[in-house]
Symmetry: C2
Subunit: 244 residues, 2 copies
Amino acid sequence: MDITSDTHSQHISQQYNQDLETIKTQLMAMGGLVEKQLQEALDALLDGDSQLAIRVRDNDTSVNDMQLKIDEECVRILARRQPAASDLRLVIAVIRATNDLERMGDEANKIARNAIDLIESGRIPQGSVEIRHISEHVRSMLRDSLTAFARFDTELALKVVQEDASVDSEYTTAMRSLATFMMEDPRSIGGVLSVMTVLRALERIGDHADNLAEHVIYLVKGRDIRHTSVDELDREALGRSDKR
Amino acid sequence: MDITSDTHSQHISQQYNQDLETIKTQLMAMGGLVEKQLQEALDALLDGDSQLAIRVRDNDTSVNDMQLKIDEECVRILARRQPAASDLRLVIAVIRATNDLERMGDEANKIARNAIDLIESGRIPQGSVEIRHISEHVRSMLRDSLTAFARFDTELALKVVQEDASVDSEYTTAMRSLATFMMEDPRSIGGVLSVMTVLRALERIGDHADNLAEHVIYLVKGRDIRHTSVDELDREALGRSDKR
């Protein structure tokens, strides 16, 4: 009887670990899809490929469906496995992360919709250099935040948090220069407003990558740093065990 | 012994109910604070009261602190009480709701910051009628979504979900007319961009009120309607037990 019971509880525990592994894998798949949507929306915009832009615009539901599916699985684990400590934090972090990824998907969709308008009306009047520059930065933040999640790597997560500030400042500078351009050439206003919308979407994707990184730190360290400044984090040298 | 044990488990169960009541009460308090921040940011903007705008801008941390506190309490309940069924859904809904309220607080803060710029530069160049109109609408959505949460009222929640579409269309119309105004009077560009930012913040607050309402439906009905269209919901006549 004891052996049977042991085998049984071992079986449950294996199944439990597998459940946790599954939501993590699914989250990575969702992240990969968002990365692809973002990449293609930007390619469509910068190459003037309206067919691709339309495809990205219409592909939004897959990301949404993944969020519902993963969240449902997380709630099922909470109800049936009653996870504690770091397992519980993993489930909470995944629920928070699907929310951020879903919003990034929305922003990629917004970029695709503005790409369609811009391509139809001729060309990007101004700002393609800024879009290229900021989008490189934001895409690397997204990639790093997903890698940090996959590897539970708080050092990498902290790097993402720190980078968000420089994206914000690049964004502010770009918006100012676009406003000046509008004043000099009022005929460009319609197009420049679309470009501004694209830049804003990129800036928000950066914010959500920052959030993802914060969820990683929460899940590994058990500490919620969502409203802690980068300066404070630096002072504490979070992510390092030695005090320097 | 039986009596003692009964008293003990009754005590635990009372404490548990009290814990659930507490997170709900705290969420309502957080919602009340966000409503106040939004109201004051709009008053500051429309009355040209820069002192008030500065106060709202600097008050953002209270909302953030409430989010951290409530979320921590939710995770504690998940770990210690292992809630199931509707109790579990309440905790999940509260975690999702604090996220939406926190973002609304950020948007109210953004309105306050733009109010400061607009007041300093003279006056609102255009769009105060639109701000007034859309803000009335959004404030009533926020109020209703909080009431729906407090009363577990899915009918009211569904009304909020349906209203979001009309806010979106008012927003689109207002943005178009502001773009036209800019083209006619390029000197107004700086100010109009700030007004656009305010309108966008209001539109996003409407989106988050819509999310809050969706969390209410999830918590009462156990169904996640985050990516279901209003038309589909209408067809299903969700929130009614009789089929009409």
